[in-house]
């Protein structure tokens, strides 16, 4: 189970040291998708990437439906 689901809009500004790598999940949304993550547990919002014409590998893409399910399952959501 995910403890904290982080939805990150601005990567430059994000305090990623607050992420619990074992139990959290990070999903880049909005213009956050312009930087493709390489860390384990970090994903990219598929629709937000597509809307911006950014290509993302399927294995790191999460749809809004996925995100909704994660919001339901996670203990909490933090929008950064």
């Amino acid at each position: 189970m995910v403890n904290t689901l982080w939805l990150v809009r601005k990567l430059g500004d994000f305090s990623s040291d607050l992420v619990d790598e074992e139990r959290d999940m990070v999903i880049l949304i909005q213009d956050g998708v312009l930087r493709i993550p390489t860390k384990k547990g970090w994903f990219v919002c598929r629709e937000d990437a597509q809307a911006r014409g950014i290509k993302v590998s399927e294995h790191i893409a999460k749809s809004y439906e996925d995100i909704a399910q994660l919001i339901v399952e996670a203990k909490k959501v933090v929008v950064w």
Binding site: R9, D31, Y64, V72, K76, V77, V79
Partner: protein, 109 residues
């Protein structure tokens, strides 16, 4: 939180203090769309979020079934009045009271 998700509908509360002509608008719409299929959604607008009251496209949120509340103090301070009857006048005090009733709180500042 959410322990009873199988028995009762999960409840999602959004708090929005950012401007409606900014990037959160589309994100909020997308999230309300997918979450309203999974439970009850309410959105509380405060600060610059009360400008949602004047943006015509806010109606989409209502059509998705969300309850729309706003901080009357913020609206008054900004000289904003809701033309639409689907926004309910509220307060941060009321936000405080209802917050514990929601399973998930999602904040766009």
């Amino acid at each position: 939180m959410g322990d009873n998700s199988e028995k009762v509908k999960m409840r999602f509360l959004f708090v929005v203090t950012s401007n409606p002509f900014a990037k959160d608008f589309g994100t909020l719409l997308n999230l309300v769309k997918v979450l309203s299929k999974r439970g009850e959604v309410a959105v509380f607008f405060s600060g610059n979020g009360v400008y949602y009251l004047t943006r015509p496209e806010s109606k989409i949120l209502k059509d998705l079934g969300a309850t729309l509340l706003y901080c009357a103090h913020s609206a008054h301070q900004r000289g904003v009045a809701s033309l639409a009857d689907f926004f309910e006048s509220s307060s941060t005090y009321n936000l405080s009271k209802i917050l514990p009733e929601y399973d998930k709180v999602i904040v766009f500042n």
